[in-house]
Symmetry: C2
Subunit: 178 residues, 2 copies
Amino acid sequence: MRADVLAAVNALLTEDGYDALSIEAVADRSGVHRTTVYRRWGSVPMLLVDLLDLGAEDDWRAPDTGSLEGDLIAVNREVRDALSADPSPTLAVIAASFRSPEAAQALRRFWADRYERCAVAVQRAVDRGEVPAGTDPDRLLIAATGPLYHHRVLLGRALTRDEADAYARAALAGAAGA
Amino acid sequence: MRADVLAAVNALLTEDGYDALSIEAVADRSGVHRTTVYRRWGSVPMLLVDLLDLGAEDDWRAPDTGSLEGDLIAVNREVRDALSADPSPTLAVIAASFRSPEAAQALRRFWADRYERCAVAVQRAVDRGEVPAGTDPDRLLIAATGPLYHHRVLLGRALTRDEADAYARAALAGAAGA
């Protein structure tokens, strides 16, 4: 039942944006009774929060390609593809995070969880001597992926895989040379 | 008159956010008659667009500190300070850009204009041999400033000047080593 409801939230958000979300629309789309949706989630922001929390419960693991360059490129391609899908659930969730403080918090928890799962890849790179000991995994991940969000979300520009790769390599060079 | 109206838009947006913006509120705050505001701007999004266009008409020039490292650090500190002000007009405008496609376009024009003005700093660095000929100014600027927006706007984390400096240095290392 939770999966049906959250799939409906994701679909409505992606197709029509935050303004189209309502308990009624989610109930209709999911086939779950309105009263049930109201009782369990209570509000549109809480539906978004649960959608993001569901994302954070998956079994995603950092790439392990054998080099930090390969790992960062794999992460950046994943982010690039998510931001370039048309329509993009990721873009829809980011836009919604500016409407709902609860959704913004959930999105930040989601990202914090992803960075935490990437720390092992950075540690492997430290062990291999690719970056200095003490390299901050969060800062490296933000340096690699931050330009993708700026480029695609705030600047609204198309983003190729080659560009995503270049941002990954530049972030690595920054960390390796620091 | 334009300056009074746009100052009122900026103040209302920064203090209370996009939802508080209305032609009436702007007229009241600026002391300009509602009919005049309606006739000249027509809608809240067009007020935002004009505010951003005003920003793009200023005489801002890229820093010229003698090194690209210094120039990028100066740019990053400026962005960091704008994103860290409390309240922050920049954050308010970014949030509003998710509500109004016209405002999003105006914000993108504003950034494109800033990058264009920074191209001369990158060219100076190419001439000094600090980065390779053919270095893409936009990509370098996005690599330097993108992490600040991600860090501060999307992740909602506090951002120190040292962190802003580190992102600038990392972007330069990425460009110099590419």
